[in-house]
Symmetry: C2
């Protein structure tokens, strides 16, 4: 069995959302699986001096335009959320807690969370909203609410973020194929070719 693809993303990252609508299909073509790895980019931004793209002068208005245009091209529903960016702590903790119980369900929840935020303008930084999205897919809302404040779950997310930064992850999406890193949703065509050819 070939190595799985690592898909790092921040739930607050619109280009991460765009990539999330394509990554599984690209991997499936080459019979690869994808490990979804939500992270909190704030820690990496402290190192790179980065800022969320849509908040930067000039670049910000371009990014809003580019995101809408790229989403249309992909056929992905998209609306820049009225609250942006957000701290993605609640959805990220929820993801890992669910993943430890049911990995396939965790991906479905991640996709639903991303859609809620970037297509339906629901503030998933609110633990209540994250809980509602997960509950619709069968997650026990009460148990999840407790998990979001569980020190072990908090540490789980911290460890994932630390490991990602240790590995050099500094943006979202950030995809690793057989050790080869690709940053940005605009590198998915290269990811596709890399999977096809094994590199160039």
């Amino acid at each position: 069995m070939a190595n799985p693809i690592d898909f790092y993303f921040d739930f607050s990252s619109p280009y991460g959302y765009l990539a999330s609508t394509r990554i599984e299909a690209i991997a499936a073509k080459r019979e690869r699986s994808v490990v979804w790895r939500p992270i909190l980019l704030g820690a990496a931004f402290k190192i790179t001096g980065g800022q969320p793209l849509p908040t930067i002068p000039l670049k910000g208005s371009y990014a809003a335009h580019d995101l809408a245009r790229s989403a249309r091209l992909l056929g992905a529903p998209f609306k820049l959320p009225s609250k942006f960016p957000i701290a993605a702590t609640a959805p990220s903790r929820a993801f890992y807690w669910i993943q430890d119980r049911d990995p396939a369900l965790a991906k479905q929840v991640a996709q639903a969370l991303y859609r809620s935020y970037f297509a339906e303008d629901r503030d998933i930084s609110n633990p209540e909203v994250t809980g509602n999205v997960a509950a619709k897919l069968g997650v026990d809302k009460g148990e999840l609410a407790q998990a979001l404040n569980d020190p072990a779950v908090k540490e789980r997310l911290r460890n994932e973020v630390d490991a990602a930064i240790e590995r050099g992850v500094f943006g979202s999406p950030y995809i690793v194929v057989d050790g080869e890193p690709f940053w940005g949703s605009d590198r998915l065509d290269q990811v596709d070719r890399w999977l096809e050819s094994g590199g160039w």
Copy 2:
């Protein structure tokens, strides 16, 4: 005759160089012409807080890897210059001075300057080097050396940079097709589709 495509770039920008190897072929397919517009990104970086990508922690080493990989995919010769970034004043002034005399020659000189810097590691920020590159294509080296210090030529470049920033240009490459802006060499496939379809 359809509108020409505006191709903004900084001679110090490696992704601008990659785009320069593709832009004419993409335009020619749709019978469009390209207006090359070298600028100095430093002025825009003051507004956006931007820095040359390869100088940023984490992102820098990724960018060096990504550039080499993208260049291989395009079949473009590439070597990150030993002196990087540079102030692209001399090659940019040279370009506009030549363009006012012979637009087709100016493009050839621009392509040769980019190749000299990003494939042959020659420091084109040195007016002598820029002069030698242009002279090989038939430009009078003595006249060019004088032009690089001519207040009118200096002002010509300043005006071009001001007009670009006024228009919202903040990066390199930055391509405008019928009023539609595209930032980054990774948007050239979208530029291609936009030219084909008139938008989406």
